[in-house]
């Protein structure tokens, strides 16, 4: 087990795979061994990686995320899962185009999708507060990721993902995956529906 710090607030925890199987996009419950407390985190690593990774935002007043960050290499964590249906239907991987919209660590399941399915036809719209939160962008095709920075000015798009969506052409044929906080999902859903995207083509994974 090891922790890779990405910023003051965010880190990646890597665990031994130990035969664990999952579908990219599913989540697990992680907690410190013996603590009796756990939280859900989406998979971040690819389905064929020899390890498991999770992208975690540290909640300062929280119980689990600060504890996991302090965990020493070689220590054990408790893991339950995998769970959930926020994954891609394998039959649609070759035939569909995907738009992944995520804010903050909501990019995690999309990272897992991209690593797991090399020929995936995707576009990512990632909402972050500042440029320093562009975590592991080298893992994405630069032409397929749009970054929306909401708090600090930069040379790229300034604003929220909802602002970005309003100025882009929204395809009715693509499949949309939304992951992040409730407010973003609510706003984004409305924009997509108003553009005419069927509710059957929108999948969501909300954070608490």
């Amino acid at each position: 087990m090891e922790v890779r710090d990405l910023s003051e607030s965010t880190y990646v925890i890597r665990l031994e795979r130990d035969g664990f199987s999952f579908k990219p996009g599913q989540c697990v419950n992680l907690g410190l061994k013996g603590s009796g407390i756990n939280r859900e985190y989406s998979t971040y690593s690819g389905v064929d990686d020899p390890y498991l990774e999770f992208l975690i935002k540290e909640v300062k007043a929280g119980t689990v995320s600060p504890g996991l960050r302090k965990a020493e290499p070689g220590s054990e964590v408790e893991l339950h899962g995998p769970y959930g249906s926020f994954f891609i239907d394998p039959e649609k991987i070759k035939s569909s185009q995907f738009v992944f919209i995520g804010t903050g660590t909501g990019i995690a399941p999309f990272h897992s999708f991209v690593l797991s399915y090399p020929n995936l036809d995707y576009q990512i719209i990632n909402g972050i507060r500042e440029v320093s939160e562009q975590h592991d962008y080298q893992d994405y095709d630069p032409s397929r990721i749009a970054c929306c920075v909401s708090r600090k000015k930069w040379d790229g798009f300034n604003g929220r993902v909802s602002d970005y969506l309003k100025q882009m052409e929204i395809s009715l044929d693509k499949v949309y995956y939304l992951c992040g906080n409730q407010g973003m999902i609510h706003d984004t859903y409305d924009i997509l529906r108003q553009a005419g995207v069927s509710g059957d083509k929108i999948f969501t994974e909300a954070f608490f």
Binding site: C27, N29, G31, G34, G36, I37, N38, E40, V59, A61, G62, T63, E78, H80, G81, Y83, G84, S85, F86, Q182, I185, H186, Y189, D190, R193, S198, G199, D200, I202, F203, T204, E205, A206, F208
Partner: protein, 504 residues
């Protein structure tokens, strides 16, 4: 327009009444528990606030016979009637709607609920229902749908509102697509307590330690975990929505100060955790509501509440904590996607009871894989927890594959589902093939409920009571009396098929 939100009294051949209960499935009870349907209450309130004439028409809590209820509804002459479906009463509802449409052809019948939302065509084919809501956000959809119907005579052809299946004619159904999974719950109004006649629900409810009690407007709609395979709040089309702490605190203050509620229970699939739970508890304390002789309670999951949060909740006068201990073996917990281990349950319960919360365990038996060893382990663990005083009360149910849950699909895939008749999904008998005779699971239920009458448990409870203040004594006596009655009723309900041959 005149809109009725209706719950007809439904009585089975044993003279028991159908009550919406766990996971919004129907169970039949002789002595009913009246659960306020919160989302429907919000829908009724919202429509009333929009100026519509709304009838809160719960024939059960209003103690009507079916004939009285039906005649009253016809006399009121509604333009729209909204029902809530669940599997064991679907056939009843289809017949009822056909009768209603025959008596009042122009009345629009709308079906909501977790059965029909997953299989809307069926209800349109099997009955004269006009609209099925595919959404669980009944308040948000009705808030848009009713004004649209009111203003558009051609609503069957043109309705742009998502999450509906609308009858255009006998065989032509229009599907407006999946619904919006996340709604801003702060926009939906608090339940109008006068409209729903809240006192009808204030006494007969096992989740109240003291009365009058009431259900709060849920802070989380459905479940923020949403992964347990047997649970309704699980599926690719479902997620959860959250209401703000402050708005909810405002409602609690009104319920305590204006309505005199002495117990407030939040029936969210899983209540707040972490920061929001602490903020809520602090808010209760800051407003002085913890000193108003009112208990607060909620559903939670093992693994969600740390000790700091539990201590704060206890200080804020939270007491009743309803928590699922579905089994006590790792295999079953993993197969159910419970997200915690066997040891986590006891550890969490120790924290709850250390700070004075009253854990109420909900246990299930009769999984299609459950061996004698697993069953014994569950019985032994529950006995151990109860004898140690780590849980105060409990409830056992037979695991019934609620339709369209992953567990239900597993049962179909593994060819272990024994029942096709919807009437059989009323949680009164096992309807899956099991490795043991069904009677073994019924016997386990007797064993678990038998804990309530075990001298060791009674002694533990009395010792616990002796540590409480006078008011707690009073209420726990009342609660205890009702609990014994409930235990007897549950044992009757859950074991009435004991000894009967199983149709395989």
């Amino acid at each position: 327009m005149k809109i009725a939100i209706s719950y007809p009294p439904i009585v089975n051949k044993d003279g028991q009444k159908a009550m919406v209960s766990q996971n919004r499935n129907v169970q039949f009870f002789k002595k009913p528990t009246y659960l306020l349907p919160v989302v429907q209450g919000q829908a009724a309130t919202w429509l009333k606030n929009l100026g519509y004439d709304v009838l809160w028409d719960d024939g059960n809590s209003q103690l009507k016979t079916f004939d009285q209820w039906y005649q009253d509804l016809l006399n009121w002459a509604p333009d729209v009637v909204v029902f809530e479906s669940t599997t064991p009463v679907m056939k009843f509802y289809w017949q009822l709607i056909n009768k209603l449409k025959s008596d009042r052809p122009n009345c629009i019948a709308i079906m909501t609920g977790y059965h029909s939302m997953r299989k809307p065509e069926e209800t349109l084919q099997m009955s004269a229902t006009d609209i099925v809501l595919r959404s669980n956000h009944i308040d948000f959809v009705l808030r848009k749908l009713i004004p649209y119907i009111d203003e558009h005579s051609n609503w069957r052809d043109e309705c742009p509102i998502e999450g509906l299946m609308i009858r255009r004619d006998e065989k032509d159904f229009y599907d407006s697509g999946n619904f919006k999974q996340i709604e801003p719950l702060d926009l939906s109004p608090d339940v109008d307590r006068d409209l729903v006649q809240w006192k009808n629900y204030a006494y007969e409810n096992g989740n109240y330690l003291q009365t009058p009690g009431t259900y709060a407007t849920s802070v989380v709609r459905d479940c923020m975990f949403g992964k347990c395979t047997f649970c309704r709040y699980n599926g690719p089309d479902l997620t959860f929505s959250v209401r703000s702490v402050q708005k909810s605190l405002d409602e609690y203050q009104r319920l305590v100060e204006d309505y005199g509620a002495r117990e407030i229970f939040d029936d969210s699939g899983v209540w707040y955790r972490g920061q929001e739970a602490r903020e809520f508890a602090k808010g209760i304390i800051d407003r002085g509501l913890h000193k108003k002789d009112c208990y607060f309670g909620f559903n939670t999951r093992f693994g969600y509440l740390d000790e700091e949060t539990v201590a704060l909740l206890a200080k804020a006068n939270f007491r009743f904590v309803l928590i699922g201990l579905e089994a006590s073996d790792e295999e079953t917990l993993a197969r159910l996607n419970k997200g915690y281990g066997v040891g986590d349950a006891e550890q969490n319960l120790k924290i709850y009871t250390k700070h004075g919360l009253f854990p109420h365990l909900t246990i299930m038996v009769g999984y299609y894989w459950q061996t004698q060893k697993q069953l014994d382990q569950t019985v032994k663990t529950v006995q151990n927890l109860m004898f140690k005083g780590l849980a105060r009360t409990l409830q056992v149910t037979l695991c019934t594959p609620l339709d369209f849950t992953p567990y239900h699909q597993e049962c179909i895939d593994n060819k272990v589902l024994l029942a096709e008749d919807y009437d059989d999904f009323d949680m009164s008998k096992l309807i899956v093939k099991t490795p043991l005779p069904h009677d073994a699971y019924y016997a386990a239920i007797r064993q678990i409920y038998g804990i309530a009458f075990n001298p060791r448990f009674v002694a533990r409870q009395l010792n616990f009571l002796s540590l409480q203040n006078k008011s707690d004594w009073q209420f726990l006596f009342t609660y205890g009396t009702r609990a014994v009655r409930r235990v007897r009723q549950h044992v009757f309900n859950l074991t009435k098929h004991e000894g009967k041959p199983v149709n395989t």
